[in-house]
Symmetry: none
Subunit: 228 residues, 4 copies
DNA sequence: GATGAATGAGGCTTCATTCAT
DNA sequence: TATGAATGAAGCCTCATTCAT
């Protein structure tokens, strides 16, 4: 600080700045990578563009992530798998009908994943998994498995409480997953059907809940699916 | 036909053989291309490997298809869009309930598309559309539009005849499309959930028809979804 | 002729036709090759297009010319070197002033070469010689050498007869050659200056003859340059 | 400047070195490209060989020039069109006879273009223009047009001052251009006549100036060659 | 830590030439 | 003779990764 060498002071400033940014860097890179992976897919995204969008050079990217694949894994952890704990906890304490629980779960999924760029990751993985085996098994463990478990627990709860018909849990999970994942994929595809997601979800969910319900004739869809 | 001239016969044989060869080539290439596109995606498929799998050299492929993109278009025409006329005709004369019509349509789709490699094309297009704009608009015109039209006509029929609830036709189409397309995508992804497709379809279809039906209590799922 | 086998008759007809065309074929191919070589250059001309323009298949071309280079040589022989004998003979008996002799020679060159596609060969050789050494030495022997000799003989005659200043014959030849060859090249280039060739030649020739003349004031342009 | 901080000096050195390297690359590549284009023509030159001759890899070349065509344009700018401003300025202030002006201009052209590899560019363009339309229009604008304008201005000056016969300026320009361009082409062709350029130029120029002069022998040609 | 110049394997496409028919 | 399907070497260009500074 009292150094008479101006270089030293500059160096100190630079060092401070670097350290501050050192922690920011990966975040900026992850954000840029998420955007681009989702926009173009894994293979078609060029690391140089990721770096540029994050405001750093290509070399810097490799300083934080040893390869393009590691960068991708970090993106997945940041945006998806890192959040399962929180969700699991929320569901563990849910009180109310299982139909509401599903409605709530799907709404949360939509807000945190479906409506965000993270949805594009799902599309990307379904698309390119076969070409990148290591990414695939990573994603299996970190996302697919926990996610499927979560849904199955909810369905099982509904069946156990007599709210849902005694459907095959494993296949039933896909009755819910399929339209959501399809939405995720369609939204991030150029073939995007330009549906209004909220309305799409409402129609799907109510139709499915109606189909799942143990006493459909009486109660349920007297109220029309609310398409807001 | 009963010519006594041996030359004629030989000539005919030669001609036949040559023509068979010449006409077989594109077919062999299209088959190889379908397999590889579906396996790896458009960008990740190497034309040289397509050629090798068809048993010819790289150069030969370009004799029949002027570019990789043209090869892809030909694959789509051969496996999907070339068949819509036939389907449209079949549906035009269908007699029976609209629910049966949907069941039948989905079964046909499964047999001709879903269970074949053509399903992989769907996955591929959803995935890579954004990176290949020309392919995208081609696919829109040749596949998406005709396919959506077809489903919407069936739903409209069901609503008009009082068999289905008066749902929004446009979104309702996706109630059917989504699980099918999801199956197509999942099947051709390394994230394949290893579901039994027939059982998956049975569960989805019956759940959805139940959800669509105008008189759910009476007709539909008295018979359990046939999971074969 | 009285054969009862219709095939035999057809075969005979075919054979006759073939023999008739057999002699025509090379001519058609040479004409097509000249056009295309001149239009696009040697390397950029594709043998397949030559064949197509001649109305035959690629294979047939190689039946008559063992390679692209041989085809080119045949074109040169047909259009240029095959004509030197005739010209040499004409010049041997020319009577009149050397200026007229040059005027006449240039006019003949223009009509037989300069104004025809053969001029393009000159351009082509100057351009691509270095990439095709064998063609180069062929052209040296068959065209450059005889042509230069011819001009030098005329100049020498003019000097010997006191009509021209005693210039260096070798360099003087280029005083005449340069503008003509330049015209040939420019005409067959996309950079074509759109000059009227006759007018261009008139200006060049008279300027040069004037420059060459031993008594410019007196002799030279008393007779009008015939620019028609 | 006289900083006692050794870091600064090192940093300066490093920076200088890097910049020198970085700035040298394009120059080295342009030099290699000029050589090879001139030697083999545009189409026949392999970018990989350009890179190798510049001592870098294929990829590096594309770091500096986005395509082979852009590389060529850069070569033209560097060697030809970038110099017109300077020449135009020189000519604007020339004092002396127009004949001397032409002699001087031709000498300068010879030293700066004709005797250098840049002359080969001219040959190349005349040769390959037709196969590369974009290069052609580029060359038209950047070279042909400014060059022709320059010559015509000098000729017009001579005519205006009564030094030259009232020749048609447009065609007269080619009286000068043709032998020079021919020399450029011949020099860079394998058909190179092995003339001594200085002597060739001397003969051409004096012959032409003699032909242009308004009072060559004293009287001059009373009647003009009619060039219309 | 940060940079960005450099690399080189690998992809799509062209085309002279061969050869079975 | 005539065909044209087939070949494969070679060319331009891209991009993940390395490394000297």
């Amino acid at each position: 600080m009292t150094s008479s060498c101006p270089i030293c002071e500059i160096a100190a400033t630079v060092r401070a700045k670097r350290e501050r940014r050192k922690e920011a860097r990966p975040g900026e890179l992850l954000a840029a990578a998420l955007e681009l992976f989702v926009e173009k897919g894994f293979a078609a995204t060029r690391v140089e563009e990721v770096a540029k969008r994050a405001g750093v050079s290509k070399g810097t990217l490799f300083l934080y992530f040893s390869s393009k694949e590691e960068l991708f894994k970090a993106v997945v952890r940041e945006n998806i798998s890192g959040r399962f704990d929180e969700w699991n906890a929320q569901f563990a304490h849910f009180e109310g009908s299982s139909a509401d629980m599903l409605r709530y779960g799907i709404q949360v999924w939509w807000e945190r994943i479906g409506a965000t760029k993270a949805a594009g990751i799902t599309k990307l993985m379904l698309s390119e998994a076969r070409n990148f085996p290591e990414l695939t098994s990573f994603y299996q463990h970190e996302v697919i498995q926990p996610g499927t478990d979560l849904i199955q627990r909810v369905l099982q709860r509904g069946v156990d409480r007599g709210e849902f018909r005694p459907i095959d849990i494993r296949y039933g999970a896909y009755t819910l997953l399929a339209p959501m994942l399809f939405l995720a994929m369609a939204s991030y595809s150029a073939l995007n059907p330009q549906l209004d997601p909220k309305q799409y979800i409402a129609v799907q969910v109510e139709t499915i809940l109606y189909g799942l319900s143990s006493q459909p004739a009486g109660s349920s869809p007297t109220q029309e699916p609310r398409t807001s």
